[in-house]
């Protein structure tokens, strides 16, 4: 008996199959990460690589997959709004260092986007790549929103953001040691500002104070970068 072609294609391109596959792949990647504890086996990165391979092998067009999983994608919006809650909890605890935090925030946010654009431009990256690179230090939902606004590619940005987090988590502590940075507040804030949630997870492995400041750096940089990048792009005449 042959399946009804309409029912068959509804299954192949419907939400049920692809939501199931995505959740199973993510679950497996999560288990792999728990077992190995390797920063390079970041569950998001592994899931994206596996899902990309599955789409390529099954010759499933990305548009169909995106539509089938739009439920997951939709939740990124409210999740971004929800970042206000942990940010509020942390800021309330850490009011004493407001001056140094404000200074480091402005300097760090400018350094993160300008150095990414500058290095990329110097080495001949295309405008698409530059606009997708610019928000790389910011937490993924905000970075994707920024990339979309300035004419970058949000999915390219998502992957670049995750790679940035891994680079920061692996290389950040050696840099801080090399520069003789001893304050837990400065170490944590820098990790979170430059390497968002993945850097923050690394900072929490050191101690609670480093982790809390890292979360603060991540949250504040998300706001500041969303405001300054569109202005920088305009000033640098990068047209999307």
């Amino acid at each position: 008996m042959r399946p009804n072609p309409t029912a068959w294609s509804a299954l192949l391109y419907g939400p049920l199959l692809w939501l199931t596959v995505t959740l199973l792949v993510y679950q497996a990647a999560q288990a792999l990460h728990t077992r190995t504890r390797s920063a390079w086996l970041n569950p998001v990165l592994v899931s994206i690589v596996v899902m990309t391979a599955i789409l390529l092998v099954t010759q499933t067009p990305y548009d169909g997959y995106a539509e089938a999983t739009s439920l997951i994608h939709f939740l990124l919006g409210p999740a971004t709004v929800a970042l206000a809650v942990p940010l509020y909890h942390r800021l309330n605890r850490l009011k004493s260092l407001l001056g140094p935090i404000a200074g480091a925030l402005v300097v760090g946010a400018l350094a993160a986007s300008l150095s990414a654009i500058g290095l990329g431009k110097l080495l001949g990256a295309s405008d698409t790549a530059l606009l997708s690179l610019a928000p790389k230090s910011v937490t993924t939902p905000i970075a994707m929103g920024i990339a979309e606004k300035i004419g970058g590619q949000p999915s390219l940005t998502a992957v670049l953001v995750i790679l940035t987090g891994i680079i920061g988590a692996v290389g950040g502590i050696p840099v801080l040691d090399l520069l003789h940075i001893k304050d837990a507040s400065a170490r944590g804030f820098a990790m979170g500002l430059a390497a968002h949630g993945i850097g923050t997870a690394r900072a929490f492995q050191i101690d609670e104070e480093t982790g809390a400041f890292s979360g603060l750096g991540m949250g504040l940089n998300g706001i500041v970068t969303a405001i300054i990048i569109p202005v920088l792009v305009e000033l640098l005449h990068l047209v999307g």
Partner: protein, 121 residues
């Protein structure tokens, strides 16, 4: 939980409305986050439903990036062509940002509290 989720959506909607009406290039959800943050600063209390909805959503935040990130499948050619500038920009910029941020913060903190010694190793 549903009340908290509704609240998050209300703030997102408000953010999207502001972004659309004013044309400012900040993503609507980021404006919504900023608004909620300001409201929390004024109210100095997080309602329990909001606390639960936000920690529930944020606990599966990583999963939410997977469908969007898989869109990379459309840019494999770009990455193959530009991997060197992209990789150099990522590594260079990330490590530089960590160094610059930490030095700025530690210096400003030392200026603010000159009596506090930081020489303990």
């Amino acid at each position: 939980m549903v009340g908290g989720l509704a609240l998050l959506l209300v703030f997102q909607l408000a953010g999207d409305l502001i972004a659309t009406l004013t044309g400012i290039p900040i993503p609507g959800p980021v404006i919504g986050m900023l608004l909620l943050f300001l409201v929390l600063l004024v109210r100095t209390r997080v309602p329990e439903g909001l606390e639960r909805a936000s920690s529930g959503l944020l606990s599966m935040l990583s999963l939410l990036f997977v469908p969007a990130g898989t869109g990379i499948v459309a840019y494999l050619a770009l990455i193959r062509q530009e991997w060197l500038p992209i990789a150099a920009a990522l590594v260079g910029s990330t490590l530089l940002t960590i160094g610059v941020t930490a030095v700025t913060m530690q210096t400003l903190a030392a200026v603010g509290h000159p009596r506090e010694p930081h020489d303990a190793t």
